[in-house]
């Protein structure tokens, strides 16, 4: 009997607290699989954010630190400077990375910190109950933009990947989505390449994963994936923005 599919050893056996249909769990799996396939799980140290991903410290099967809201890139910098041979990654939501933590992420990229960031963009603050994020789309209704976000009031959504790709220290930047199997496979390839960037000592690497939050978007899981495809991807185009050695 051959094994066709098994649970990755990159994740612990703990059941996650994520809502049904939430794509956080799927992104965890991709990261866990990449760490195992690259043979670096035992060398990995992850930094969990404040957001729905906070309890990632219980889910990744490697040493983990939990950081203050938005500060994961600074915490990861501290780890990597002490342990330059280890594989250090942050896992952050869009409120965490694109709002309160912009300073930390920009400067980690600017310094070319040899860390890998998994940036889960679900266009909303999930954990606090669905408030507007800097990534919330124009017209998108949230608990703090009840009639829909407007440019006049809140500006246009921030495209973090494009912004970071202007920095020389950012050696790998790619935006992916996890709304269908093809995109999931692409997402995994990008995540692996982001870790390879670190292993090669190149510099900062980030994968922005367009993700769904069915609970706070107020949708069934499949409708949420459809909404992601029809609304998020047109504004946040998928693809590579920076790739070293290519």
């Amino acid at each position: 009997m051959s094994i066709i599919y098994e649970r990755t050893n990159g994740l612990t056996k703990t059941s996650t607290h994520y809502c049904p249909g939430c794509t956080h769990g799927l992104v965890h799996k991709l990261v866990g699989e990449c760490l195992v396939e690259l043979g670096v799980l035992g060398e990995a140290i992850g930094v969990a954010p404040v957001g729905c991903g906070v309890m990632a410290y219980n889910y990744f099967n490697c040493d983990m630190q939990q950081s203050a809201h938005g500060r994961a890139p600074a915490v990861a910098t501290g780890i990597k400077r002490v342990l330059p041979d280890k594989v250090v990654f942050t896992y952050q939501g869009d409120g965490d990375l694109a709002s309160i933590g912009t300073n930390e992420i920009i400067h980690a990229a600017h310094r070319g910190e040899k860390i890998t960031t998994i940036f889960v963009n679900n266009a909303i603050y999930g954990m606090t109950g669905g408030q507007m994020a800097p990534t919330t789309l124009i017209g998108q209704r949230t608990t703090t933009s009840k009639s829909g976000r407007t440019v006049e009031h809140s500006g246009s959504p921030i495209r973090v990947s494009e912004m970071l790709a202007t920095l020389d220290g950012a050696r790998f930047i790619e935006r992916v989505a996890v709304n269908n199997p093809v995109n999931v496979r692409r997402a995994k390839r990008a995540i692996k390449r982001a870790f390879e960037t670190q292993l090669a000592g190149e510099g900062f690497a980030m994968v922005e994963v367009l993700s769904s939050c069915p609970t706070n978007w107020g949708m069934e899981p499949l409708d949420a994936l459809k909404w992601l495809k029809e609304n998020m991807i047109p504004y946040y185009p998928l693809g590579n923005l920076r790739n070293w050695g290519v």
Partner: protein, 354 residues
């Protein structure tokens, strides 16, 4: 051993390195700049890392990551920068990470000024960040004491897994004095089996965490922390006391103000007033017990500070209403003169209100 004439900021930096510091994360601010500048040169020489962070918030979180990875990491700043570090300090205390934090403080509030002040006493001893936590706070009164405290700071911090906070005012940072920094200081690095260094697939993951959603678990965690704080209160309270038992008046002062007060005490003595001195070295744990040594018939206690009255609260707690408490402070970067403080001490001895 040869004495070196050093500036306070540099003496503290060198003592930290000899005390085992290998990682420094900081952000420029006056009057502590010589400390990171010195570190930027010296840490490279000893195989460590100096990194100028994007902000004080960045710096303290880098200390978090480094300390949790087992390193002896340090940051320094001055008052407004220490204000920004408070979130990180709360997290560091919650996660029980040893580290050393230096405040070469200046006048506030707000941007304030760049002259020395002691107006961050509340911030250091009352917790500027959120939650039930404490820091071990030492306030040196001269450079040799600053060096001696810094040398053992990492050992003490690792012993309890509580940050050591060095409260030096701008004068301590900027003045020059001869100091001895022993080469052969032997550090007692504690064993650390809790750090995140990679599992190598040979052990269960180590997790550095500050989240406890279950209130009972969080309470248990806080009780655990509190038990450590009680141990620190029992073991690490430090103060200097002079003539408390037979004095007419007591002067309570710390750091630079205590040095000025020493001259004031001599001036008062020439007017026939015997002044006892109570100088807390640890601001937390505060030496409340030392007040029991004070002459029950003393006319009163003068708390002198370079602030509008912050340690004053602890002096009131320690005195338990046994003596009248008076306060003399200069603030905003103004420094009290020996005569100003002496005048207050003499008035108290003469039973005049000050």
């Amino acid at each position: 051993m040869a004495k070196l004439l050093m500036k306070g900021n540099e003496a503290i930096a060198e003592a930290a390195i000899r005390g085992g510091c290998r990682y420094f994360f900081g952000y420029p601010i006056t009057p502590q700049n010589e400390l990171p500048e010195y570190m930027s040169v010296r840490l490279g020489e000893v195989g460590g890392v100096f990194l100028q962070a994007e902000s004080e918030i960045g710096a303290i979180n880098m200390v978090y990551g480094a300390a949790a990875s087992g390193a002896r990491a340090m940051t320094s700043s001055s008052s407004p920068g220490i204000a920004l570090k408070q979130e990180g300090i709360s997290y560091i205390c919650a996660a029980q990470l040893p580290c050393v934090i230096v405040n070469i403080s200046r006048g506030g509030p707000g941007l304030g000024g760049i002259q020395p002040a002691q107006s961050d006493y509340f911030q250091a001893t009352r917790g500027g960040g959120n939650g039930d936590y404490r820091l071990i706070v030492y306030a040196p009164a001269n450079l040799q004491e600053a060096v001696d405290i810094t040398l053992e700071a990492f050992d003490i911090s690792e012993k309890y897994r509580v940050p050591v906070f060095i409260a030096g005012d701008g004068m301590i940072g900027q003045m020059m004095e001869p100091v001895e920094i022993p080469e052969g200081f032997v550090s007692q690095s504690a064993e650390k089996d809790w750090t995140t260094t990679g599992t190598k697939g040979q052990r269960a993951p180590n997790i550095i965490n500050t989240l406890y959603l279950d209130p009972l678990k969080l309470e248990e965690h806080n009780i655990k922390l509190d038990n450590v704080y009680k141990l620190i209160e029992a073991n690490e309270t430090r103060y200097e006391a002079d003539s408390l038992e037979d004095c007419d008046v007591v002067c309570a002062a710390y750091g630079m103000t205590s040095r000025i007060a020493r001259s004031s005490i001599k001036i008062a003595a020439s007017s026939g007033v015997k002044v006892g001195m109570l100088r807390p070295v640890s601001l937390w744990p505060f030496p409340y017990g030392a007040f029991d040594k004070i002459n029950p018939k003393a006319k009163g206690i003068l708390c002198a500070e370079m602030s509008m009255g912050q340690m004053l609260d602890d002096v009131k707690i320690g005195s338990k209403g046994r003596w009248p408490i008076h306060f003399y402070g200069r603030s905003g970067g103004m420094v009290p003169t020996p005569d100003e403080i002496a005048e207050q001490l003499i008035k108290i001895a003469e039973g005049k209100s000050v």
